[in-house]
Symmetry: C2
Subunit: 328 residues, 2 copies
Amino acid sequence: MKIRIGIVGYGNLGRGVECAVRETSDMELAAVFTRRDPSSLKLKTENVPVVSVNDILEWKDKIDVLVLCGGSATDLPEQTPAYAKHFNVIDSFDTHARIPEHFAAVNAAAKENGHTAMISVGWDPGLFSLIRAYSSAVLPNGKDYTFWGKGVSQGHSDAIRRIEGVANAKQYTIPVDAALEAVRSGKNPELTTRQKHIRECFVVLKEGADPDKVEKEIVEMPNYFADYDTTVHFISKEEFAANHSGLAHGGFVFRSGATGLDHEHKHVIEFSLKLDSNPEFTSSVIIAYARAVKRLNDKGDTGCKTVFDIPPVLLSELSPEEMRSHLL
Amino acid sequence: MKIRIGIVGYGNLGRGVECAVRETSDMELAAVFTRRDPSSLKLKTENVPVVSVNDILEWKDKIDVLVLCGGSATDLPEQTPAYAKHFNVIDSFDTHARIPEHFAAVNAAAKENGHTAMISVGWDPGLFSLIRAYSSAVLPNGKDYTFWGKGVSQGHSDAIRRIEGVANAKQYTIPVDAALEAVRSGKNPELTTRQKHIRECFVVLKEGADPDKVEKEIVEMPNYFADYDTTVHFISKEEFAANHSGLAHGGFVFRSGATGLDHEHKHVIEFSLKLDSNPEFTSSVIIAYARAVKRLNDKGDTGCKTVFDIPPVLLSELSPEEMRSHLL
């Protein structure tokens, strides 16, 4: 019997999960749950019911793993603990500072009800976290570096859009080549915020807005832009639609360390992602871990997990024997 | 109480394990076991006994994890199952084709005697295997590429040294830049053996040997060199000693795949290592996994494991809470 996946929230991430399920041979999409009018959603997969989120508890016994595709700011802190009472769940909660409290709430709800939950699954947090964990365990005498981009920062784009006179905006985070090269060479540089990333903004102005005023407001914005070298381009609505609607992203994780009696031998571990679609890749990671959630729950291993708790063997459609023969 | 590590075999790998233990705060080197005269060994660590391998069973209750530092050709197939009867063990067995039979032998010996064993730990097999496993689970619609080098191939160097007229030789495996770039760009090329790696040989001739004859014998050697573009440099004994005694190595693992309803979005995952010392890095990986072996055995989880079976949380000196706060 296939693993029955439910999706809560049919935005970019939810649609990515739908695509990722189609790439597996051991899973099926059982239902999509939405806060919108279910008749307004058109899925890519035929014969999958779209259900009002109000009726989700009727699906308790028809879903093996519920994938929560809401946002980290307000949706997931509420949804993940709530649904973990009734389902095995997985989310991509990415507010790093609030992970401990989110973990505690989800763990309590899942444990009490015999469910298995996973939080913070994707690429950062997610695959990048794995690389940081493996490489710091292997090279305890060393230093970590994480760079993001080139890619769109949703939070920074939103911040620009809230400025008076701005009709639309997109902000790209771009790692600085010289910083990447210094890390890659094993020099273990100390890098300031400004030295690691630059921020490039594409802005569509409302009629009559003053570009100088808007630019000044962007580049001086505390926390978001003041600590970075920021460039601002004013473009037309048409150019924005043509060139800035993609969802590409990526990044780099390095560990640079030394071994030997006098730390005389240097080693550099580098992991990087180049992604055409951030939400589709994130949901591909989630679906691999949804398989692990089901397998753990089958073994009676309940409560909240993160990527650190999952042995790779639980992620694959291959048997342990096939993995040893073909991947080891 | 610290995890007590024993080393069997004090060559490059054994000395690397000794250094790696010194970087931890939760392990100590309890003893080094050798087939040589124990008094002939001078360790880097003070007050650690060097013991004849014939007396190893007297140490059954004084070692938590025994690290087997022999070779894959003849030592480990015999040693790992034999010692798994009496100790928790870990090795770096790297004959890919024989992993299933080695696993079976070690698993039986360890299980029967309540011990925990790990085989094939290092970087390939090891970290590279992990990346292949994670990335193929995440991008099932995709293609793997593994490149090795620039680094010394011991087997190929040995093969050259067996040629008549050769006094000494070192062979470097070098990935072809154009192949790396083609893979990195997401083109999913089909690459022949010749297109992926070149082989560069540095050879010291015996007096009176014919360089043309030796070169021909190298480049035409079946399996080892015939399928590659091979260059041969004849150098003096002095140059060999000065420039070719290092143990640097490294390599690349890629997964290039696509997601989306029509596979319209491409993604490239890249992992690479640049290592000044192959044996010291390998032993750093082994020591991180030795921690996991001890923890698994403490929980009663016995038998043979590979890197696929181990959740990352078992590798770190950090607590699960610290890992979630600092690495996730």
